[in-house]
Symmetry: C2
Subunit: 457 residues, 2 copies
C-alpha cells in the first residue's frame, strides 16, 4: 500500500506512465498468443536500425536508450489491462494469465547514447525469449526514434550557432507531453544549453531558462510599466522588446538603465520578430552607444539551423537563440526509416527477402576505425568477431536488469561532444558530404547473409 | 489512501500523467510570480488560433479539446514539484505556497471537436484570472496542436481511400507515447477505422486491429508452417505475404485453402512492399481464379494520402490500407503556426503590434454561414455580437469544471463527418482550392481592433 501522494509523486517524476505493457500493437499480442500456443519461446535476436538516413542528415545521434531500459525494467500488465484484453474476446485465459505475470527477461546490447550512427548499423539488439523480444517492438522503436530524431536535429542547430547559447523553447509545439519532456533530454544530449520545460528540468536535471512573453507586456498599462515591474522581481532577466515597437522598447530600456544606475542588471534583450539581422545590428549599436555593452541580444521565432547560419553569415549581432517548433518536430526529417527486425531465432540467423528490405542476420557488432584521432570507417560484423577498431555495442541489460549505473545525462552529453569531434569534418557541415561515411559489412557477416538467404531460397 | 493497484490502474488508463502542473515553461511561472507580487489577477482572455494554414491543408479539424479539459480539471503541483521549484532559487515561499494550492478556475469557450477551422479563427478561448490563463499556455497549445495536426492529416488519408478501410499502424514511428495514444484518438475522429495501438483502444474505446509481422513468418521453419500455425489460433485472420516471395506465399495460401476446405476462413492478405499496383492485381487475379473472391487485399508500407490516391488511380486491387509513419508524424505539415495570445485583460482588449503578428482583440465568436446545405463563409466577430450564421464556440468549462457530459468519441466522429459534408466541395480535394474559404472579420471587431491599436500607438 502506498498513499495517493506517494504514488502520485512517483508518477509525477516521469510525466508518462513508465512500463505500460499495453503500449504495444495488437499484432504483437496476437503473435505472442500464437507463440504461447505453439510453445515457441526460444531465444530470439531483434536488431534496431535505420535503413537509410534522411537526405538532410549526415549521421544520427543515437539517443533514448536509458528511457527504454527504464520502461523495459518496469514493463507490466495491470488488472485493468488484462480486463480490457479479455473484453476483446481474442485471448485465452491461459495467455492472459501469462501476460499478467509478464516480466521482461531479455538482454540488451546497445551503442552508448550520444554515439553517431549510420544506416544499417544496429543501434540496439535485444536477445530474449521470442515473446519478450517481440512484445517490446512498438515501445522500443517509438522511444529510440523520438530521442534520436530530436538529438540529431538539435545538434545541427547547436552547430549552426557556433558556440552561442541555444535554448529549447519547443514544448508548446511538440507532439504531446512525452515528446516534449524526452525531447528536452535529447536536445540537451545534442548540445542545447537549457530548456524552458520545467518537467524536463525536474526529471532530468537539465538547466531551465525563460523569462517573459508578450502577454506580460500587454497585460500592463504600458511597456515601461511592464519592464519596471518585471525588473522589481527579476533584476537580472531577459526583456522581450518586440511587443509594440522594438526601437521604442530599447529606448525605454536605455532610459531605465540611466535612471536605475548600478541597479540595472538586465542580462539580455530578446527579439522575436522582424528582420533579425538589421534589428539586432541596430539594437546592438544603440545599446553600445548607451554604454550597455554587457547587455546581450537573444533571438527567437521560427529559427532552425539554416536560419541561424544565415543570420550569423549576414552579420546578425546575436549572442543566443531560443529555438522552438522546427527543432521540436524535426521539421525537415520528422521520422526515421527505423526498423526492429528479427535476425535470429533458436540460434539460427533469420532475414526477410522483401524487395529492398533485406536484413543483416544474426547478432551483430559495429567496429569503428580511426586514424589520427578521426574516425575513418565502420564495419558491421557478426557479434563474436574481433576486428580492428572500437566495438560500439555493449551489454547494458541482462535478464531484464540493467547492468551497472546509468551514465548521468552530463556524461552522455560529454560523450556526444567527444564522439562528434572524432567524425570526419566533411560530415559536420549542414549540407550532405560529397561521399557518405563508409560503412562496410565484414566478410564473415556477408558470407552468413549469403548462407541464410540460400537456405530460404 | 489508495492501494498501489488502484492508483496504478488510474494512471494506466491515461498512459500520461494527466494534470501535470510542471508541464509548463519556466517563463510562465516567472510571469506568474511577478503577477503574484503585483497583485495582477483580474480576468484575462487568451485565444488559441492558427495564424496561417500549412500550404498542404485546406482546413484544419479542431481536435484535442476533451483531453485539454481533462488536464485542466486535474491540474496540480505535487510536493515533489514544489520542492523542485524551490531548488531553483527563483521563487518565493509565498508564491510556492500559492502554486501548491493552485486549482484552475477558468472558463473555456471552444468549437466542438471535429469542427473544420481556418486561419485566425479562435479554436478555444480561456477566460480566467490572469495567472490561471497564462500558466496553461504550454499545455493547451501542445495538446490541441497534436490532435489537430493528426486528425487533419488522417482525414486526408481517409478521403484518398474512398471508403476503403484505413487502419492506424503508426504508433512505433510517432513522437513518443502521448502522441501515439492521443494520435489514435485524433485519427479515429478523422475517420480512420481502427488502430493497432492497444492503449489507445483501451483508453478511448477505439476498435483495434492487427494480426502478424514478418518476424512471425521468419521465426518458423517455413512460411507454410507459419501460416498453418497462425490459422490454428486465428482462423479468420489477415496473412502477411511478402516476407520471402509474394507469389509463392499466395500459392501456398491457395493450396491451404484447398486442403482446409470450409475451414479456410482467411479474411485478407497483406502486401507490405513492392509494386503494390501490379502485385495487388496479380494476387487478386490468382485468388479469384482459385475461387477465393472473398479474400480481401490490404496494403501497407510507406503510404500517405497521395500514394493511396495514386494506387487507386492506377487500378490497384486493394480493399484497405494500413497507414503508419507519414500519417503518424503528419510528415508534410508536422506542426501548425498555432498561437495562444492574450486578447483582453481587466475588460480591455489587448494586442501586440510585432511585424506580421497582430492579434484580434477581445473575446470572440465565429459565425458560419451556409446556403443550400453547404457552408459559404465564416465571420469572426466580438463574442457578444449576434450575426447571421451558426455560432461555433460554446462554453464547455466554467470555474474549472466541465459543463455537461463530454461527447463520446463516436459522437465526435459523427459530428466531424457531418461538418465535413457541409464544406464547399472545392476544399475537399487533396490539392489547394482555387480560392481559399472566405473568413471575414465583423465590422464591430475590425473597429475594436482599430481602437485598441490606436490606444497603443
Amino acid at each position: 500500500m502506498v498513499t495517493e501522494t506517494d504514488s502520485r509523486k512517483g508518477e509525477h517524476s516521469s510525466a508518462v506512465w513508465v512500463g505500460d505493457g499495453l503500449f504495444t500493437d495488437l499484432y504483437e499480442l496476437s503473435m505472442l498468443q500464437a507463440y504461447h500456443a505453439e510453445g515457441m519461446n526460444q531465444e530470439a535476436v531483434f536488431s534496431l536500425s535505420v535503413r537509410q538516413l534522411p537526405p538532410q542528415r549526415n549521421y544520427l545521434i543515437a539517443c533514448g536508450l536509458d528511457t527504454v531500459l527504464e520502461h523495459l525494467q518496469r514493463l507490466r500488465f495491470g488488472d485493468a489491462d488484462i480486463a480490457y484484453l479479455r473484453s476483446l474476446g481474442h485471448f485465452s485465459e491461459s495467455f492472459l494469465d501469462w501476460l499478467h505475470h509478464f516480466r521482461f527477461r531479455g538482454r540488451v546490447r546497445a551503442v552508448p547514447e550520444g554515439t553517431p550512427v549510420f544506416a544499417h548499423e544496429p543501434i540496439l539488439e535485444i536477445e530474449a525469449p521470442l515473446p519478450d523480444a517481440q512484445l517490446v517492438e512498438t515501445l522500443v522503436m517509438n522511444q529510440i526514434q523520438l530521442q534520436t530524431v530530436l538529438a540529431t536535429k538539435a545538434e545541427r542547430v547547436v552547430r549552426a550557432a557556433q558556440g552561442r547559447r541555444v535554448l529549447d523553447f519547443a514544448a508548446r509545439r511538440m507532439h504531446g507531453i512525452d515528446a516534449a519532456v524526452q525531447g528536452a533530454r535529447a536536445f540537451y544530449v545534442g548540445g542545447v544549453d537549457a530548456t524552458s520545460n520545467l518537467r524536463a528540468g525536474q526529471r532530468y536535471g537539465i538547466p531551465v531558462a525563460g523569462t517573459m512573453a508578450h502577454s506580460y507586456v500587454q497585460a500592463h498599462a504600458s511597456e515601461r510599466a511592464a519592464f519596471e515591474a518585471f525588473l522589481a522581481t527579476y533584476p537580472e532577466t531577459v526583456l522581450l522588446v518586440d511587443t509594440y515597437d522594438t526601437h521604442a522598447a530599447v529606448d525605454c530600456i536605455i532610459d531605465l538603465a540611466h535612471t536605475m544606475g548600478t541597479d540595472f542588471r538586465v542580462r539580455a534583450l530578446r527579439l522575436d520578430s522582424g528582420d533579425l539581422v538589421a534589428e539586432s545590428q541596430r539594437v546592438r549599436h544603440r545599446l553600445d552607444a548607451a554604454g550597455l555593452n554587457s547587455v546581450q541580444l537573444m533571438a527567437s521565432g521560427g529559427l532552425d539551423e539554416h536560419e541561424i547560419a544565415r543570420l550569423l553569415g549576414a552579420g546578425a549581432a546575436l549572442d543566443g537563440f531560443g529555438v522552438g517548433t522546427s527543432m521540436g518536430v524535426s521539421e525537415d526529417a520528422p521520422h526515421l526509416d527505423i526498423v526492429y527486425k528479427l535476425c535470429a531465432y533458436a540460434g539460427v540467423g533469420r532475414m526477410k527477402l522483401s524487395t529492398g528490405k533485406t536484413v543483416l542476420p544474426g547478432p551483430k557488432q559495429i567496429f569503428r576505425s580511426d586514424s589520427g584521432g578521426r574516425d575513418t570507417h565502420d564495419t558491421i560484423a557478426r557479434a563474436h568477431e574481433s576486428l580492428p577498431g572500437r566495438p560500439l555495442l555493449a551489454t547494458v541489460m541482462d535478464d531484464g536488469r540493467r547492468l551497472g549505473e546509468a551514465p548521468t545525462l552530463d556524461t552522455v552529453r560529454t560523450h556526444t561532444q567527444a564522439a562528434l569531434a572524432r567524425l570526419p569534418s566533411a560530415l559536420r557541415g549542414l549540407s550532405p558530404p560529397e561521399a557518405p561515411y563508409p560503412v562496410h559489412v565484414s566478410a564473415a557477416l556477408a558470407a552468413y547473409r549469403r548462407d541464410i538467404a540460400g537456405n530460404i531460397a
